[in-house]
């Protein structure tokens, strides 16, 4: 029932009735399936995709590349676990390639992020180096274009003379 996940990923606010109609199932079946996904952890949450630049709030974010020393037996899990405890951290990924962890950090200002990196991340025991890349503009996020130039329907009616 992957279609259900796709639909929810696109719009988590659709009702079970609507989803059921679109998928050719009963609302009860859909509700049960969602329940199942939530319980098993396939669905881990629902949130709004916010264009903070428009929300008139102070909002800065950065992608931080970390090179770290993996620990015996625990590999990268231990350091990842420490990093994700910080509430400023939105996401933590283990990466292939030239560095180890990619950390996305949100804060009110760039200064806050700089301080966070200097005071919290860099001093951690296994962190060898950090490289902080500030996000300047988010063009597309979570599959959505954030500032579409023109949303008008440019299609026109033909054959209406």
């Amino acid at each position: 029932m992957d279609k259900l996940l796709e639909l929810l990923q696109e719009n988590a606010r659709m009702s079970c009735e609507q989803l059921a109609v679109m998928l050719g199932r009963t609302p009860e079946e859909v509700a049960a399936q969602i329940d199942e996904y939530e319980k098993s952890g396939v669905i881990r949450g629902y949130h709004a995709l916010i264009n903070w630049e428009k929300a008139d709030a102070n909002h800065a974010s950065a992608l931080i590349e970390l090179r770290v020393t993996p620990k015996r037996d625990k590999g990268f899990d231990e350091i990842a676990d420490k990093i994700m405890q910080f509430e400023e951290v939105e996401s933590v990924y283990l990466m292939s390639g030239g560095f180890d962890l990619a950390v996305r950090v949100n804060a009110a200002t760039m200064q806050d992020i700089a301080l966070f990196v200097a005071k919290r991340l860099a001093p951690l025991d296994s962190v060898l180096s950090t490289a902080t890349h500030f996000i300047l503009t988010r063009y597309k996020d979570g599959g959505v274009v954030l500032n579409p130039e023109d949303e008008r329907d440019e299609r026109r009616t033909v054959l209406c003379d």
Partner: protein, 391 residues
């Protein structure tokens, strides 16, 4: 002053305007209008297809193509037709690339019809068949398909309208505006009549890739004995969301295609070359795009059919294209009144059924080639409109 009416071909003056213009004029002036009236995909042409068009321009490939279309494109079309519909055409003699399906339809009428030849045209259907028949010197004879038959064409309905001059039958399925499809058994029944009365068939299959419910489209020329009697019209507009590229094709017996090519060569020269390069990519690597778009349309279709049925506007389940054709007789309004009030009161635009033939009275055409969000809001407004009518 020149009296231009005296200077023109009387046949063109006799073609009636479609009469739905006013709805669009009203719709265009309103700010928050929600339209469910448009008959083209809301998807943009897949990016990899657009890229090939762009690349051809970057490479400076801006010349004419051969009259019939690039041989690579014709070969890919034939491969695609074989892969999807199990019909075999020779790319050099049985295929012609046209400016949209529309040109293909026009060429077919002008090539086949002698003055006075009759063309059987099922309705409700796309608006071009009658006028183009008339301009080619033929006589359009309309067949009314019925809601109780799910708007499919029956052999009896054809036989009722047969006359000594009947030459050609138009098969507009999957159908705009009803969403009706003809399944294999329905086509076989039609084929019997076609054979018995020595007819030719123009099968307009432009919506062939948009059928739902898991049963794929059947190309009419695949039906036993129909290859030699059928001109198949298809194109890229609906399957690959390429309406603006204007590219279609006609596949049929070589003797007919040769004559159509002559006309195409003098009237058009060749189809747009940028579009042809893009189309090659679409045919080679676009099957997944079709599946994806079809899945999206199918979910919208279920949503909108369910919505209308809940409101009490009975809606026969459309199995093709991207239209629903709900019956609005329960409101006591004519199709035109319904559409006019709906647009003034709720700012929702749909098309009155009679725009697609007189037998469309009592119905409206609603397109679901729109986002779920858009469709949901439109349904909400239509429901509100119906509640208002009941008071």
């Amino acid at each position: 002053m020149i009296d231009y009416r005296q200077k023109m071909n009387p046949a063109i003056l006799e073609i009636a305007p479609s009469g739905i213009r006013k709805f669009f004029d009203i719709a265009n002036e309103m700010k928050d209008v929600i339209s469910l009236s448009i008959g083209e995909p809301d998807f943009v042409t897949p990016w990899h297809v657009r890229q090939e068009g762009i690349r051809s321009l970057e490479d400076g490939k801006t010349w004419y193509s051969p009259n019939r279309g690039f041989s690579e494109l014709r070969e890919e079309i034939c491969r695609w037709l074989k892969r999807h519909y199990h019909v075999e055409y020779h790319p050099d003699t049985e295929l012609l690339v046209t400016v949209g399906g529309s040109e293909a339809i026009d060429l077919c009428f002008r090539t086949l019809l002698a003055p006075g030849d009759e063309v059987l045209i099922p309705q409700p259907s796309f608006v071009c068949y009658g006028p183009l028949t008339a301009m080619a010197g033929g006589v359009p004879v309309y067949i009314e398909t019925k809601a109780e038959n799910r708007f499919r064409l029956t052999p009896e309905e054809i036989e009722e309208k047969l006359a000594p001059r009947t030459k050609l039958l138009v098969l507009p399925f999957p159908n705009n505006p009803t969403g009706a499809v003809m399944r294999r058994a329905d086509l076989e029944a039609v084929a019997e009549v076609v054979k018995k009365h020595d007819l030719l068939v123009l099968s307009d299959e432009i919506y062939s890739e948009l059928t739902y419910g898991g049963t794929p489209h059947v190309c009419f020329s695949e039906i036993d004995g129909m290859m030699e009697r059928t001109v198949v019209v298809n194109g890229f507009s609906k399957a690959f969301a390429m309406t603006g590229w204007r590219l279609g094709y006609v596949a049929g017996p070589s003797a007919l295609v040769a004559q159509m090519t002559k006309l195409h060569q003098y009237g058009i020269m060749c189809s747009p070359t940028t579009a042809q390069y893009a189309a090659i990519e679409a045919l080679k690597n676009g099957d997944a795009d079709i599946v994806n778009m079809r899945t999206q349309y199918d979910m919208r279709r279920r949503l909108i059919v369910d919505g209308f049925n809940r409101m009490g506007l009975t809606c026969f389940e459309p199995e093709g294209a991207f239209y629903v054709f709900p019956c609005i007789r329960s409101t006591g309004l004519s199709s035109e009144e319904f559409c006019e009030r709906l647009i003034y009161q709720e700012h929702v635009a749909v098309v009155p059924g009679p725009a697609f033939g007189a037998c469309g009275e009592g119905f409206v055409r609603v397109s679901y080639s729109y986002s779920i969000k858009h469709i949901t809001e439109a349904l909400r407004r239509i429901e509100h409109f119906l509640e208002g009518l009941q008071k």
